[in-house]
């Protein structure tokens, strides 16, 4: 999945609930349909939260991976 080319990167390291979701939402709004957003967070709750957000909004969660203390998400805008 690391082959996916992101159109935008969003750094949510150090932020706690609900800021990663709110910033992701804002970032997605600035993209075009089909664009990919890469988001990096350190909040362990963001795994479930990003799943829920993707499910509700219809923006596709291409991957969510943990590397060390960081969580990396790739999202394709619907």
């Amino acid at each position: 999945m690391s082959e996916v080319q992101a159109n935008m990167e969003l750094d949510c390291r150090g932020l706690n609930c609900p800021l990663p979701i709110l910033k992701t939402k804002k970032a997605i709004e600035s993209l075009n349909s089909g664009d990919v957003l890469k988001m990096v967070a350190t909040d362990p709750g963001s795994i479930n939260d990003m799943n829920a957000w993707s499910k509700r909004t219809g923006n596709e969660l291409l991957s969510s991976e943990q590397t060390g203390d960081e969580y990396v998400f790739f999202i394709r805008k619907k």
């Binding site: 609900p18 800021l19 979701i21 709110l22 509700r56």
Partner: protein
């Protein structure tokens, strides 16, 4: 009718710890493409004031941990037992506890109440002030941030009847 989910909240408390849930839930719900209305009543009305001065009230709250927001980790993890005698009688204790909690929130990357409220306003969360409790407490619309609408129980119930989520906070 669209299939947009709706959430109706009642915010009835004005302490700092109670100020968070309505604004966290409302801002997140909007991020999840929901439509949100918050009905502010009784002490919740103070969350609509231009400057929020919500404080924490440690007195008579035995479940509240008192920890320090600074120093090495071992120091931060100490729970300070604060006797009620101090928390209820020492002038300014609420202010100290409030400032400690705000510092802890900040160091944990938690948004401030003002920040979350701004996001709610910008993203179209409908804020309704309870007219009756405004009269009781002597608030006018000028005390509140722009965009607040006024209404009563019927206003809340009309929206809540169509809402998928209703919470009293």
């Amino acid at each position: 009718m669209s299939d947009t989910k709706k959430m109706a909240l009642i915010a009835s408390r004005g302490e700092l710890d109670w100020a968070y849930p309505p604004f966290i839930l409302a801002s997140t719900a909007v991020a999840l493409d929901m439509e949100v209305q918050i009905f502010f009543t009784f002490y919740g009305l103070t969350l609509l004031k231009k400057k929020i001065d919500a404080k924490v009230a440690p007195h008579a709250n035995p479940s509240m941990p008192m920890k320090m927001p600074f120093g090495p980790k071992s120091f931060k993890n100490i729970e300070w037992p604060i006797p009620n005698l101090i928390s209820s009688n020492l002038p300014g204790f609420n202010d100290v506890a409030t400032s400690l909690m705000k510092k802890t929130f900040e160091s944990k990357g938690v948004a401030s109440i003002e920040q979350l409220r701004d996001i709610c306003v910008e993203s179209g969360v409908k804020m309704v002030g309870c007219q009756m409790t405004m009269d009781v407490f002597g608030f006018t619309k000028d005390d509140f941030i722009d965009g607040v609408e006024l209404g009563g129980a019927a206003t809340f119930l009309e929206f809540a009847a169509e809402a998928d989520i209703q919470l009293f906070l």
